[in-house]
């Protein structure tokens, strides 16, 4: 551990000096020590020492680390990042080329022990439109009740139901009594249409009753329908929610719900959307969601990636903790960072031909921000590769990234088949799903291969996807992206 007063001594000031005082002291010290003025032996070293001290103390984040007794040079202390590439080097060729990069971030055990667990602030937003009538609502009621009873004593929970209007059944609180839960859920009955915005807005307001800084905040949306006309309002709200460290995840029941919309909505906050076929899985989904939120190390992780000039980001896909395609943008809200579990994103970049003189290419620069209770932690990284003119000297990609790209290809094939259907080419969609099926079969994914095959045949006779097949294939190939198919 570095001496905590050393840097301050170098600038000849006391610990706890203000920003202004540090700046002043630096100017004074530099003037005295500059090698042009100070000809004595060791002056250069002295000058460098002052520079180093100022560099750390003038940066609030690094200063914070230094004041806390952590190594100031390692601003990422306690957090590890790992960068993998699809190629050991970029090829010196006169045409554009593609490179993939797998970016991981994980917290170390030491770091986790230092920070206390954050309690949850959950809002369950439940669709009670007419279509939910009968077994769907019964199962939802039972699952909700169990989930609430399982929450810890500091956790907050609220329940909102929505059709074309929202109703707060259970206002945000910790440990509601048996009677309160019972009364709330008795008010959950089916009527009206589906307007998702009404629901998530009410859930959002419930969560915001408590300072979001002190909790892991999350809206869990359960729906079985399409929302019409309020999509943009929903996206705006999701962006607002993300800015305030509130995540959204969604569960679609049955075949009617709009998966593309819910995917997009959740992805804005780094949350996940899931499709269940079997009603009994509702409880499993809720339990899984809560359990995974409980593992939060940070209530929110953001990632900014800026490609260098001449380089374009073609796609970004988050692989861990949940597989979701990310919208193309520079700044991502990635939801919570879990303990012991890496957060992993796969990027695809298109690199323009590189000028002769350049040997080392910066592909993109990025920064993670880990939101923590006391202070945010910034972790910068740079994606870069050397140039190589001999394609033979390149080593094959590492298994991990190769597998990720292979599985991404499957996801893309079903996506393209959907586009084929949309643009009126069922023949191409049929062929594509046959290919997908044979690739899946070769990878030992027999169940999914069979679904793809059935879907191909369905398309052959109906010129369209079957109602469930489309969602099964999409979420099935997405799930493959998780390492070891968690």
């Amino acid at each position: 551990m570095p001496d905590r007063t050393d840097f301050y001594r170098r600038l000849n000031i006391n610990t706890g000096a203000s920003e202004e005082a540090i700046k002043k002291a630096y100017r004074l010290a530099v003037r005295k020590a500059h090698p042009d003025v100070n000809k004595s032996e060791g002056a250069t070293q002295l000058f460098l020492d002052i520079q180093e001290a100022y560099k750390i103390l003038s940066d609030p984040n690094q200063k914070g680390n230094y004041d806390d007794g952590r190594d100031p040079h390692d601003s990422s202390s306690g957090i590890l990042t790992s960068l993998q590439y699809s190629q050991t080097a970029l090829l010196r060729i006169k045409e554009p080329q593609i490179i993939y990069s797998l970016v991981d971030i994980v917290s170390t055990k030491d770091e986790e022990q230092k920070s206390a667990d954050l309690p949850l602030n959950i809002s369950l937003v439940l669709d009670n439109s007419t279509s939910m009538k009968g077994p769907r609502l019964d199962i939802l009621r039972a699952a909700t009740k169990e989930i609430i009873n399982d929450l810890g004593k500091d956790d907050l929970v609220s329940v909102v139901s929505f059709n074309d209007r929202a109703k707060v059944l259970l206002p945000s609180q910790s440990q509601p009594s048996e009677i309160q839960i019972e009364t709330a859920l008795n008010n959950l009955y089916a009527e009206g249409g589906t307007e998702i915005f009404q629901g998530i807005e009410a859930g959002y307001e419930e969560i915001r009753k408590h300072p979001t800084l002190n909790y892991v905040n999350h809206i869990i949306l359960i729906t079985d329908g399409h929302t019409y006309g309020d999509e943009d309002n929903c996206f705006d709200l999701a962006n607002n929610a993300a800015d305030q460290d509130i995540g959204i995840s969604g569960l679609g029941i049955g075949i009617e719900w709009n998966d593309e919309f819910v995917d997009q909505l959740c992805a804005l906050t780094g949350g996940q959307s899931l499709f269940i076929h079997d009603l009994e899985q509702v409880k499993e989904f809720l339990e899984h969601s809560i359990a995974s939120l409980k593992e939060a190390f940070s209530r929110r992780l953001t990632l900014e990636v800026i490609p260098a000039p001449g380089i374009m980001m073609l796609s970004a896909f988050r692989i861990l903790p949940e597989a979701i395609p990310l919208p193309l943008q520079e700044k991502y809200s990635l939801g919570i960072l879990k303990k012991h579990q890496p957060h992993r994103v796969l990027f695809e970049f298109l690199v323009d031909p590189v000028p002769e003189k350049i040997d080392r290419v910066v592909i993109a620069s990025g920064e993670y921000v880990i939101k923590k209770k006391i202070r945010d932690q910034n972790i910068p990284f740079t994606l870069e590769r050397m140039m190589d003119s001999d394609p033979e000297s390149l080593e094959p990609p590492a298994p991990e990234i190769f597998k990720a790209i292979s599985h991404l290809t499957f996801y893309r094939l079903q996506e393209k088949a959907q586009r084929d259907i949309a643009s009126g080419n069922p023949g191409t969609a049929y062929q594509r799903l046959l290919n997908l099926s044979s690739h899946l079969m070769a990878k030992g994914e027999d169940a999914l291969a069979k679904i793809a095959m059935n879907e191909a045949n369905y398309i052959k006779s109906h010129n369209n996807f079957s109602p469930t097949g489309k969602k099964q294939l999409k979420y099935g190939t997405m799930r493959l992206l998780l390492p070891d198919n968690i």
Binding site: S86, Q87, L91, I93, E95, P96, Q97, I98, I99, Y100, L350, V351, P396, P397, P399, F402, K403, I405, S406, T409, F410, R412, L413, K416, N425, G427, T428, Q431, R432, L434, N435, L436, S438, H439, A442
Partner: protein, 173 residues
């Protein structure tokens, strides 16, 4: 660019899997990772035509179109560019190759369906769909209208429902 061996799709250097058909493009030797997988159902039509195609034709020509259903060579003119279609009485522009002999109407072949362009020096052949009503495909993949699509030895070219095997004798060895 890399050309996919299965579906002729062009991909950027560095791409590991064909975006159109999912075939692996880069060869990865690492046994732990994966094996090369090429779907074969879209090519299909693997036939032994050494008996049915005259030896002389195999030795001399750059490009042969072969009907697998009839097991015969489709007659094409000896020129570097020609059109394929279905001749109809009173038609102003007639196709160079008329497929009426192969039940062209039932097969959904347009009057002027496609153009074939041959570069004998480079041993390259291209097909251009002329905006046909039922479209064309190569190895089961619909091709865009009015653009050059390369044909490789062994490809299956379909005009409407009519399937032909592409044979490039110089690529056979």
């Amino acid at each position: 660019m890399i050309t996919c061996r299965v579906c002729n799709n062009q991909e950027y250097q560095g791409i590991l899997f064909c975006g159109e058909c999912g075939s692996q493009l880069a060869f990865v030797t690492d046994q732990r990772v994966d094996t090369l997988v090429y779907p074969n159902q879209n090519r299909g039509l693997e036939v032994d035509f050494t008996q049915t195609i005259p030896k002389k034709l195999l030795e001399e020509s750059t490009f042969i179109l072969y009907s697998t259903e009839r097991d015969e060579v489709i007659e094409i003119p000896e020129q570097n560019e020609f059109t394929i279609g279905r001749f109809v009485e009173g038609q102003v522009i007639t196709p160079d190759v008329d497929l009426n002999h192969y039940e062209a109407y039932d097969m959904g072949i347009s009057r002027l369906h496609a153009t074939i362009r041959i570069n004998s020096k480079k041993n390259k052949v291209f097909v251009i769909d002329l905006g046909s009503a039922n479209g064309s495909s190569v190895n089961g993949y619909e091709i865009p209208a009015n653009s050059e699509v390369p044909l490789n030895h062994g490809d299956v070219l379909s005009l409407g429902k009519f399937k032909m095997k592409v044979i490039l004798p110089k690529d056979m060895k």
